[in-house]
């Protein structure tokens, strides 16, 4: 089932299936390692805060609105 990254609760793991949004956002987000096919775990999701995501051995803070543009599926 396809879910937006922003809808995944802390502790949830999955695989990125698509990165939407404009080209500039796509370039920025892929440069930090969030590409289709990569697996991740959501570490924190608090209202008013960026999401914390663990991906490729890195802890990333990503603006929560931007997480709506990342599609994922459960592993």
């Amino acid at each position: 089932m396809i879910m937006k990254l922003s809808d995944i609760k802390p502790g949830g793991k999955g695989r990125i299936t698509a990165v939407t949004g404009d080209a500039a956002f796509q370039r920025r987000i892929t440069a930090v390692g969030m590409t289709p096919g990569s697996t991740f775990e959501v570490i924190r999701r608090e209202k008013g805060f960026p999401m914390l995501i663990s991906i490729r051995n890195t802890l990333l803070a990503v603006n929560s609105e931007d997480c709506k543009q990342i599609e994922t599926e459960a592993e």
């Binding site: 698509a18 796509q26 370039r27 920025r28 440069a31 960026p50 490729r56 890195t58 990503v62």
Partner: protein
């Protein structure tokens, strides 16, 4: 003439700048990239009989043309100015940080790879076979630990070899593009010149075009099949995620079998669980910021005390010079004007040193990213993102430090915006003056209310200012949300922190001393009177002549002069008040306000007798919202690389300050 030119390329937190600082020591030069508002760091170092030029390229996550920093980086590499590009990666986050290498692959300039932070990586239980990686890439790969002398020796040895044949083998990546894009790829590439264009290979150009890179379109501008190529690539959707996927596939094939590791846990450490929690994390961030501020003052205290004690020399020195028969005006300029300027500048340098060290330490150990995470929401309301919090925090001590710390922001517009907004934050000296005047006129409770009022108007000011400058400063494409790595915690590098703090302090001193001296000499001349009575000075005559106008804003000629004097240094205002109401020499009073408190009894009596409560309140607001001191202005010019913008913002602040005092004054008249 240097034997060789090298450039350092790497992502933020790759340890690039530490290496640069260690190699060059004090042989550095900070300049500007031609036509761009991006800082250019160049230095030299020698080893054995060889001399090297080295350029520290801006830290960016990729070579996409997202920002000026990335464009500058690309243009520099393409220009052929460097004989060798050293690509830095973080071994503790190997896969992700090799993205820069993958983005570089296809650029035909000799390069080598440094895998930094091998110590951290080992601690995580990871073994990296660098020889294997080196064979696969066709370039030298050096395992590196910044604190280990042997690492540098190994680097020097590599640099002595002939690097002209170190070309990164990008064959695997080209295959990945071919597999992912099929005939689109082969068609587009076949239309390009076989050897590529300039230093760029056809495959590199293809990936950039697929990613929607506008600058890459210019690169193929001279190509005869240009239109056809663009037609082909414009059909590609989701280019960046797809090429990104290819790049990581390639990275996996490069490090596959060369890296063995224990399965790491992605769980947060106990400390990070607190540091990133909503309530606890916020409290911790505020507490650490407060502690950092106090720590900065403590570290800077010796210099601040020295600066503060300096004006006391003025009196004996003046007497001595007068005895020797020097002209009183000259004595006044020297002992009051120049001495004050030097004293203020030294005091300011004390704080700059302390703040650079303490906030640098927080950044160095990796906690700064957590503060940015916590304050991202607040910064977003101002059109910025979490990384912009640093200038605001540092400004509570000193706006000069605030301007300097805006360097953490990755694009120019956001940097100027953060500086413009951080000017609202009152520095330590501003608080001193506000507290004194407010308590004098309104008592402790009244002063507390005044401060609440000031804070409320500050919030309003921030919002209005972000709206006023937001549109023109930050392009729609630069209004990006936070995408930031929270790096693992590191041990601080004390040596480079110390040298950074000293460098920043020296920079600030050099910039400030001239401007403060000139202004202070001018004030000195204006307030000089041969009779010693203030009524015979130019400042009195000019001030009282325009008082009818300034009174509209609630400012008497004395407070108006004090408002102007605060441009020199916020404490200067207090001195001006003391002098003007005490009718003594203005400069002496300005100078001594930094060391000794006001002679409260005399001045406060004169103050309360002359100023009404609305006038006092108007002054407090005008003073608080005035533009920062000229030292902060010159620091802002330096950081924004734009005199025009700095003046624009300063003009705006001056107008806002008068507007606010006008409103406050007329409202207060209704009450009292």
């Amino acid at each position: 003439m240097a034997d060789m030119s090298i450039a350092l390329l790497g992502q933020p937190n790759s340890g690039k700048s530490t290496l640069y600082n260690r190699l060059t020591g004090s042989h550095q030069h900070v300049g500007n990239w031609p036509g761009k508002t991006v800082e250019k760091n160049e230095g030299t170092f020698t080893h054995g009989s060889h001399t090297y030029n080295i350029t520290d390229l801006p830290g960016t996550y990729s070579l996409a043309a997202n920002s000026d920093e990335e464009i500058v980086t690309r243009d520099f590499i393409a220009s052929g100015s460097a004989d060798l590009i050293i690509i830095m990666s973080d071994a503790s986050q190997l896969e992700r940080s090799l993205f820069m290498l993958a983005d570089y692959a296809g650029i035909n300039v000799p390069c080598m790879l440094i895998l930094n932070m091998m110590d951290v990586s080992k601690e995580m239980g990871r073994q990296i076979d660098t020889d294997k990686i080196s064979k696969r890439l066709g370039i030298p790969v050096l395992p590196f630990t910044a604190s280990d002398k042997n690492s540098y020796e190994a680097l020097y040895d590599i640099l002595e070899k002939d690097c002209s044949s170190w070309h990164l083998d990008a064959g695997g990546l080209e295959q990945a593009y071919a597999d992912a894009f099929g005939s689109t790829y082969s068609k587009a590439v076949s239309l390009m010149p076989e050897g590529g264009i300039g230093v760029y290979s056809p495959a590199w150009l293809f990936s950039k075009l697929a990613e929607g890179d506008e600058v890459a379109k210019n690169i193929i501008g001279g190509c005869e099949n240009k239109d056809e190529i663009i037609k082909i690539v414009s059909g590609i959707e989701n280019g960046a995620p797809r090429t990104g996927n290819c790049k990581f596939t390639w990275i996996e094939s490069i490090i596959g079998g060369a890296v063995t590791e224990k399965k790491g846990s992605s769980a947060l450490s106990k400390f990070d669980r607190l540091a990133t929690s909503k309530v606890g994390g916020t409290i911790l961030a505020v507490a650490i910021a407060l502690g950092a501020f106090i720590g900065s003052v403590i570290l800077g205290y010796p210099l601040m005390a020295l600066g503060g004690a300096l004006p006391a020399l003025g009196q004996p020195l003046a007497e001595k010079l007068l005895e020797e028969g020097a002209h009183p005006l000259l004595v006044s300029i020297l002992c009051e004007g120049i001495l004050t300027a030097v004293a203020f500048t030294i005091m300011m340098c004390g704080y700059i040193f302390g703040a650079t060290f303490v906030f640098g330490l927080i950044e160095d150990v990796g906690y700064m990213a957590r503060i940015s995470y916590i304050f991202d929401g607040a910064m977003k309301k101002l059109g910025l993102h979490g990384k912009a919090v640093m200038p605001f925090l540092v400004s509570f001590g000193c706006n000069i430090g605030g301007a300097t710390s805006s360097r953490v922001l990755d694009n120019w517009g956001q940097r100027v915006m953060a500086i413009a907004l951080s000017w609202v934050v009152p520095c330590a000296s501003t608080w001193g003056v506000v507290g004194l005047i407010a308590t004098l006129f309104f008592g402790p409770a009244g002063a507390a209310l005044t401060i609440l009022g000031l804070l409320a108007v500050s919030v309003l000011h921030l919002i209005i200012t972000s709206k006023v400058f937001g549109k023109s400063l930050i392009k729609e494409s630069d209004r990006t949300g936070l995408i930031m790595e929270l790096p693992p915690y590191h041990k601080p590098k004390w040596g480079s922190l110390l040298s950074l703090s000293l460098t920043r302090m020296a920079e600030a001193f050099k910039r400030a001393i001239a401007i403060v001296t000139i202004v202070s000499v001018v004030i000195c001349l204006l307030s000089y009177s041969s009779t010693g009575n203030i009524h015979d000075s130019i400042i009195y005559k000019a001030g009282s002549a325009i008082e009818p106008v300034t009174l509209f804003f609630g400012l008497r000629w004395q407070t108006f002069t004090a408002w102007i004097a605060s441009w020199m240094g916020k404490e200067g205002s207090l001195g001006a008040i003391a002098a003007l109401f005490n009718e003594s020499s203005v400069m002496t009073a300005i100078a001594q306000s930094s060391s000794a408190p006001l002679d409260n009894n005399i001045v406060s009596a004169a103050l309360s007798a002359t100023l009404s409560k609305p006038e006092a309140l108007a002054f407090v607001f005008a003073f608080y919202f005035n533009m920062p001191c000229l030292m902060a202005l010159s620091a802002s010019v330096h950081e924004t690389h734009s005199l025009k913008w700095t003046l624009k913002i300063a003009g705006y602040y001056v107008c806002m300050s008068l507007l606010i005092s006008c409103i406050v004054y007329h409202l207060a008249l209704l009450i009292w």
